[in-house]
Symmetry: D2
Subunit: 346 residues, 4 copies
C-alpha cells in the first residue's frame, strides 16, 4: 500500500540520519545546552533575520502547544482558537489539563479573522461581570491551518495588530510551517512571521525531521524561565543535541524550504489532476493537504492501492478524505496516483 | 574533555542508528500502531515472560512518570516516594502540575522500605479526619535509585506485598533499569520485576537508545485508556515507529542487558581503583553511578581532563561528585581515568 | 430601586435566621459531622424517598459543579454540557482549572437531548484515533436550565437511559431545583429525579438559604471519598452545621417547595401581564426567570424603578432582559411591576 | 460535654447574627459589590491604616490559601512553607491541585526564619540546572502558626526583607490573626503587618464570624484580576454581602480585637493552671491554642467532661492534646476546667 495518509509516514531526510550517525559517539552535555543546539539556534536566528529571538527545541506538537500556552496565560485566562484548531480538537484536552479553556471561535476555513479576535475581546470586556467568564489571554492560530489553508500576510498583520492593541500574545502553530511558507497562495516569509508573532514554532516532525519543533520567542515577557516550562511539561529531551543536529541540518543550505517545496509541488500535481477529473473538494487547500470528495466506488478503487485519511462523511454516497504529501513523498508514487485518478475519471 | 557526567552523553547504540537508517523511507502509520512497535512489544513480553502485559512507548522519563502517575491516581491522592525520588526533586513540579502531591519519605540511601510504606498508609488511616490530608494512592520507587543503590528481590517483594495489601499500585521508575538488573548486588530479574510491579518502565534514553521509555503495565485496572493519557501529556510520538525500532533492537539478542553489563563492568573498575586509592564515597553504589568524595586539589587535577557532575559539598575542602558510565563508555577512557586516579593517589 | 435582577438579592428565609440564632452558642464538631447536618441528611433522604443516597453540603454552585465533575471524571475525560451550561459560560474556567474540557453541545433552549448525548458518544467512538480527543465521561445538565426551561420527565428518562447505556454518570445542576420542580411545565418529582440522576444537587443559595447546596449521590461508584474532593476544592465549611441547620429548616414542613412555589406564582403573574401587553420573549420560560424583549423606551421607563439583568441585544432598538423572582420576592413589588407594565402598554 | 477541641465550635458573635437579621430582607447586588462589602473594606483600610490596599472576601481558609497562591505563582513556581504549614498538611493537596509544589522547610516551632528562606532561594539559584527544579516563587507563613506560636515584629521584618530582596511575595495566613495580634508575646500591629506582607488575610471563621476571610493585597502586581481568581476557585459568594456585614461588624468598635483578647485571656488562664500543676507542653504557645501533655489517666479523667483534639503520641503513657479557646469560649467553662485540672493535680 502507498501511504498518503499523513505527513509523518517516513523517517527523516537522509542527511539528518547521516549527521546523527556521524556525531553518534561524540560526547556532549544534555538538555539542549550543547554546541549543536547552539548552532541550530544561530541558523534559525539568521533565517528569521532576527538576533533577538529565543529558540527552544521540543519534541512534538501537542507538547509544544501545551508548553507555550501554559507558559503564556495567567490562570484565569483562555486561548482564542478557531474551533477546528488542533488544540481544540486533537490533543485530548492537553490544554485544559493545564487549567485553561480553549475559547473556540467558529470558522469555515480553519482561519480566524482579526475582527473575530477583536469581537471576542470586546464581548468579554463588555460583560457586566467579566470576572465570571474566562478572560481571553492569547491567540492561537495554525499556519497553515489544519485544513491546509494559509493566511495572507495582510490577514496576519491585521490579527497581529489587534493582538498588540489588546496585549494578547499571538502564537502561531507552525507544525507544517514549511508547507505554508511554500504554498503558492502564501505571500509571507519567515522574517515577516517573526515580526508578527509573539511566539511560533517551526515544525520539524512533519517537515523532514525524525521529530522536533523549534519554538521561536520574540516577545520579551515570554522569554523568562521558558526552560522551566519545558521541563515541567516533560519536553526537555535528555539528549537535546538530537534536536540541534536535526534543525541545524534543516537550516543549512535552505534544506527546510527546499523539501517543503517538494511536498507542495507534488500536492499541486495531485490537486490539478483531481480538478481536471471533476472531483470536488471539501475545501480549496493550497498546501500539502488536499481534501477531495470521492464517491464510495472511487474510494474502493483507489483504496486498493493507496491509504488516505478518512475525513468527513458528505452524504450517503460521498466522503471527503485527506491526501497528504510531504518532504518524503516519492514522485513515482504521485505519478502512479495521478494515473489511477485519470483512469478512474474516464 | 572526557565526559563521565551523566549516562546520556552519547547518541545511541550503533545498531539502532543502523536500523533507523535501513527503515528510514519505509512508510508506516503513526502513533506507535506500526509493525515495529508491535514487534518490540512482543519482544518485551517475551523478555518479561508475560503475555498479558500492555507495553507503551514514551519519549522521556519525566513525561513517563507524569503520565503514569496522573493516570493512576484519583484526584485527591498522592504518590509515596523517597524524598530523593526523581519526581520529588528533578522534574520541576511535573507531578504537582497534574494536581498531585508527592508524599516524600525520608531515606538515606534513596530507597523506601516496606515498613515505611505501611507506616505512611496507617498514619493516614489513623488520622481523625483523614479527608483533610492527601490520601496515599500509589508508591513510586526507582530501580536503581537516583543514588545508584538497588533493591534486593526480598525488599521489593516486601514492598509489593504491602502495596497489594493496601491496594496501592506499585510503580517502578526504570530509567536506568538495565544498570540495576546487571548490578552485582541485584538478585532480581525482569520477569520477577514484572510480577512485583503494577507498572514500570524500561529506560531507553540512558541505556542505548536515542530516547524512549517502554512502559509495562501489569495491573488490569491501569491498562484502560492509557493511550488517552499518553496523548494528553504530549507523549504520543507521531513517528512512533522510532520507538518501536529502538526497543526491538534493544530486545533482540539480549542487547539491552549486554550493554548494561558493559556500563556496570566499567563502573566497577572505577569503583575498585577509587577504593584502592583510599577515596571514600557518599554512598556505596553497586551500579553505573559512583559518588566519590574528592578534595579540592583532587577535583582540580581530575577536572583538567574529565567532567563529573558536582553532587554535594561535604565540608570546606571536600565535595562528592557523580561519575557515570553507560552503554557508550569507552574502555580506553576508563583506563585513562583509572591511571590518573592511581597517579593522583600516590 | 426594586431588584428583579437575580434570585439572590435577599438574605434567607426568616426561619433559617431564627434557627441560626437559636443554635448560635451551641457547641458542635466541625466539617458537617454535627447532628444538624445528620438531621438534614435524614430529611433529604426522606424527601428523595431513598435511604441509600449520600448527602453532602457545599457552599456555592461553582464550587459544587467543580467538585462533582472533578471527582467523577478520569483525567482524559470531559463533561458533555449544553453550550449555554453554567459550567461552560459563567464559572471562569473552574472546570478547566481541574483539567477537564467542557464538551459543549449546541442548544437553542438550554436543554440537551438524549440523541445529542448519544450522538456525541458515538461520534467519539467512531473516530479512527479516539485517544486523540477528549473522551466523553459524564453528562451535565441544569434543571431548570440557565434560561429557565425545564426538562420533562420523559426527556430526563431518555437522557438517563442513554447515560446508563454508555456508562456516563448523569449530573443534574439543581441550583434552582425548587423552581424547576414547581414549574407548571414540570412533571417530575424529587424522588423521580433521584432515580434518574447519578448525582445532583438541591440549590439552597437561590432558594431560601443564605448559601449552600446539598449534593445527593446515588451512584455507588461516586460515593467513595467524596469528602476528600470537597476538602481539596476548598468546599469543606468549618462550621458545617450552618449548612445542616439551613437544609434541615428547608426540608421541614415542606418549606423548600412552598417557597419555590411562591417564586413561580409571582413569575407567572409577571409573565401573564407581559403576554397580555404584547411583549415578546427571548424564550418561553415556565420558571422564575423570565426573558422579555423590551424596546429602549420601555427599558428606560421601567429602569427608573426596577433593576433587571441585561441579557442579550436583539437589534438596535430591542434587548432581552432577565426578570427574576425568588422565594423572597415581595408580592407588592410584583403588583407594582405589573401595574407599570400595564400602564406602559397602553 | 464541653468543647475545647477547636476554635470553630460555636456560631458567630451575637452582633453579627443581629446584623444579618436586621438586613435580611434588604435587596442588594451580589458577588461582594454591595454597600456592606464596601463599608467593610473601608473599615479594614482604616484598621490597616492604608488606603491603597485591595480587600476581598472569601469563605474559608483552604479556599483562600489556594486562591492567593495560584493567583500569585508562575506555573513552574512553588510556595515556601514550614513543613507544618496548613497548606502542606491539612488541605488535601488543594495547592498541588492548582499545579504547584509546596516547598516544605523543616521547623520545630511552626515558624520559618529569614535565613531559611534565603537559604532555599540561594540553594535553588546555585543549582547547575535550576530549571529542573521547582523555582521558589513566594513565601507562605501563618500568624499565629498552626502550633500557636507567633513571629515577633523583627522576625517578620527580616523575612519581609529577604522576600523583597529576592522578589518573593510574602503571604501571611491569618486564619487566627486576631489571636496572634493579641498574644502577650506579639509586638506587631495590623498596620505593621500590612506594611510587611504582600498579601495576607484576616480570619473571620475562627474569630467571631460564621465564616469568611478578608484578603488584603498590598502588592500592586497581585491586585490585577484577583476577582477572576476568586471566581475560578469557587470562592465568589453569591450573597457576598453576608461577608461584608460580618466584617463590617467585626471592624466596628474594635470588636475583632476585643473578642480575640477574650480568647487569649481564657487561654492564658488555662496555661497558667497547667504550668502550676506541673503539666509539660509540646510547645510553648502564647496564643489560644495550648498543647499540654497528659498521661493516659489524666486524659481519661478530663475526657469525661471535656473534648480536646488529640495531637501527638509522646510515649506509651503520654499524649499531647490541643486545648483551644476562642471568641466564644464561656468563662464558666474555663473556670470548670481549671478547677478540674487543679483537683487532678493534687
Amino acid at each position: 500500500m502507498i501511504q498518503f495518509q499523513c505527513d509523518y509516514n517516513e523517517g527523516a531526510h537522509p542527511t539528518i540520519l547521516q549527521r546523527l550517525t556521524e556525531t553518534n559517539m561524540e560526547q556532549t552535555v544534555g538538555y539542549s545546552e550543547d554546541p549543536y543546539c547552539e548552532q541550530a539556534r544561530e541558523l534559525i536566528r539568521k533565517a528569521c533575520q532576527n538576533d533577538n529571538i529565543d529558540v527552544h527545541f521540543l519534541v512534538g506538537g501537542t507538547q509544544t502547544n501545551t508548553t507555550v500556552i501554559a507558559h503564556t496565560l495567567r490562570p484565569y485566562q483562555g486561548v482564542i482558537s478557531a474551533v477546528s484548531g488542533h488544540i481544540n480538537v486533537h490533543e485530548t484536552g492537553a490544554i485544559e489539563a493545564t487549567g485553561h479553556k480553549v475559547l473556540a471561535i467558529a470558522s469555515s476555513d480553519g482561519k480566524l479573522t482579526a475582527s473575530q479576535v477583536e469581537g471576542a475581546v470586546m464581548a468579554h470586556r463588555n460583560e457586566e461581570g467579566p470576572e465570571h467568564m474566562v478572560q481571553p489571554g492569547m491567540v492561537y492560530l495554525s499556519f497553515p491551518t489544519e485544513v491546509g489553508t494559509v493566511y495572507t500576510r495582510s490577514e496576519l498583520e491585521a490579527i497581529s495588530t489587534v493582538c498588540r492593541k489588546y496585549k494578547l500574545p499571538l502564537f502561531v502553530d507552525g507544525a507544517r510551517l514549511g508547507y505554508g511558507l511554500c504554498s503558492p497562495q502564501s505571500d509571507i516569509t519567515l522574517p515577516q512571521l517573526t515580526e508578527l508573532a509573539d511566539v511560533f514554532y517551526i515544525g520539524g516532525t512533519k517537515v523532514g525531521a525524525l521529530f522536533g519543533e523549534a519554538v521561536v520567542i520574540t516577545n520579551e515577557a515570554l522569554k523568562r524561565d521558558f526552560r522551566y516550562s519545558i521541563k515541567r511539561h516533560g519536553g526537555m529531551l535528555a539528549k537535546g543535541r538530537l534536536l540541534g543536529i536535526q534543525f541545524a541540518t534543516l537550516f543549512t543550505d535552505n534544506l527546510y524550504l527546499k523539501i517543503s517545496q517538494h511536498a507542495i509541488d507534488e500536492a499541486m500535481r495531485i490537486k490539478a489532476v483531481l480538478q481536471e477529473s471533476g472531483i470536488s473538494f471539501l475545501i480549496d487547500s493550497p498546501t500539502n493537504q488536499q481534501f477531495p470528495i470521492f464517491s464510495k466506488a472511487q474510494l474502493e478503487t483507489l483504496g486498493m492501492k493507496y491509504n488516505f485519511s478518512y475525513w468527513q462523511q458528505m452524504d450517503d454516497e460521498h466522503a471527503a478524505v485527506r491526501i497528504c504529501t510531504s518532504w518524503g513523498t516519492k514522485s513515482e508514487n504521485v505519478d502512479s496516483l495521478i494515473e489511477d485518478i485519470r483512469r478512474m475519471a474516464k
